[in-house]
Subunit: 329 residues, 2 copies
């Protein structure tokens, strides 16, 4: 017992005893057994993290998460889920959650597979009072903290930005209603665009990316008045670059393109893609902070918080200002 106190620096202890014990510990290379400490204290200082197997954007979220958790002396128990497996992915996710619980993690950070999970799906988590923070998905029927981008606002910013640059006929490449993030960006964009007279938006709204190229070609050829496009993700923007190239449409001279997500290919496209930076590391950091706070809060009653990090535009060279006085030619 005295040894425990000396090594952890907890409680009253004589300086001399403390030093003596520390010396002995060093001599015998004592190392604590964190498993048993976890059992005993009820806190493992281990956080479960569940992300899509194809990390992409989440690598940086993970990095932010990791750094912040490490700063609070937490480790990360990582699970990856292959998202494309449909129902099987959901089963996998649930199983991994149970495993993390069995491992006695102190909290869970999760980018859920599907948007419409309910409290019931997470019942084991709640029963054990393990704090849960979701990333990038607001689960309507789940009462837990959530963290993500303010996608609606970002969509608004996109519209305002392109309109400010003089564009009035704009293509909106969106991804349907299934994924909440893309849906919000689209809705935000439309809400802002509608407020400005003389602005016309052509919209592609396909969940399947394969359909986008065709639709984009149709839109651009039948509406030559379009001078700008907002793509709800950089992947669509990159696709649009190809379509434009095939049609002989030059970016940004003939068509301005604004992407979303700063997904890594942006700087390598020609011209470099202007896009939204979601600050993924900040998202991770904030999620970790929320979780740690929740773990340490004795009053379990605090309502679920939905925190949001603002994305902002990273200007590169794919958007042109077409206001007459700025482009005199």
């Amino acid at each position: 017992m005295t040894a425990s106190r000396a090594l952890n620096g907890t409680g009253h202890i004589a300086r001399a005893t403390e030093e003596r014990i520390q010396i002995i510990a060093e001599k015998y290379k004592y190392r604590p057994n964190l498993l048993i400490r976890g059992v005993q204290t009820g806190r493992t200082m281990n956080i479960g993290v569940i992300f899509p197997a194809d990390l992409g954007f989440y690598t940086n979220v993970l990095e932010g998460l990791h750094d912040e958790l490490l700063a609070s002396n937490y480790s990360i128990q990582l699970s990856l889920i292959h998202q494309h497996l449909g129902e099987h992915a959901i089963r996998q996710e649930h199983q991994q959650i149970l495993r993390l619980l069995d491992l006695r993690v102190d909290g869970i950070i999760l980018r859920p597979v599907n948007d419409d999970a309910s409290d019931l799906y997470f019942k084991e988590v709640f029963e054990r009072n393990i704090p849960l923070v979701t990333i990038d998905r607001k689960l309507e029927n789940v009462h837990c903290d959530a963290l993500g981008t303010n996608d609606f606002k970002a969509g608004q910013q996109a519209a305002e930005y392109l309109i400010t640059k003089g564009h009035r006929n704009i293509l909106l490449a969106a991804t349907g209603d299934i994924v909440s993030t893309g849906r919000e960006r689209r809705n935000g964009f439309l809400s802002s665009a509608e407020k400005v007279k003389g602005v016309h938006v052509s919209i592609i709204n396909e969940t399947d990316f394969k359909h986008h190229e065709n639709e984009a070609r149709n839109a651009l050829t039948s509406h030559p008045e379009i001078t700008a496009a907002f793509c709800v993700t950089d992947i669509l923007a990159a696709g649009l670059y190809n379509t434009a190239l095939k049609l002989g449409i030059r970016i940004p001279k003939d068509l301005s393109v604004l992407g979303f997500g700063n997904l890594g290919m942006g700087p390598y496209l020609n011209p470099p893609l202007s896009t939204f930076d979601q600050h993924p590391a900040k998202i991770g950091k904030a999620a970790a902070q929320l979780l740690v706070k929740r773990i340490n809060s004795t009053s379990e009653k605090k309502r679920a918080q939905q925190k949001t990090i603002s994305a902002d535009i990273l200007e590169r060279q794919s958007v042109r200002n077409i206001n007459s006085h700025e482009t005199p030619r």
Copy 2:
């Protein structure tokens, strides 16, 4: 005790008892405490993984690792190290290794910060007989399993490929001697190129990527006879695209470019970059297999294995065949 046997399906037990216990377990929603099981059995079924914080290439290694480990019922304890912090990174790494040990992981998979660690650096790991597999770095003075790309061979493949395509004056963009992977690719390339008469290699050999653009410009202007370049990493290849653009050199008409690593920007470059696929998921999978085998092997005496995954060329559109009969103009 009987319950333990029934729930784990281990040992002799009456069918009736087993079922009765399982029903009770279900009724009370019994879940095992994996911490205590780990303490008791000496196996936590948890593997420590330490990767660079800036995962990049390692995201896919991690994915392969994860899937293979999961198949063997292992979880992952993840640590990230910020590589650019020099000595501090090494301290961090060491601390994380100790932490994983305290957490009683059954094995460790590590992409080490530095190439010249010795057995001493890992002494705590060896003392506890925890298997260690390194990724992408052959530590000369450490007796542990290692997994990576066969970089020397890949370098040879690169030379042979470009030579087969008719190139005789080739630029080799390399990264000095510090990082073993790049060094091996360079040496492999040179070893194959030297064997063929009439082949001349101009070499840039700078660790700092910033110097590459200048050097490349010099090389290309003073040696207009150069028709191809092999870049030891895609990042250098992307840089070379820019340099070429500035100099009015067209790819692949005037200059063929072959990259390395398939780092993600390749398909988005113009023209799409031909490069080496290192099959990172396979590397992860093989590393996991090696580790699991090592964990299960009772005879600890088996010598360290160095397994290697062959990289191969992913042909896109940045390398041109300039043999006269194929390009009649």
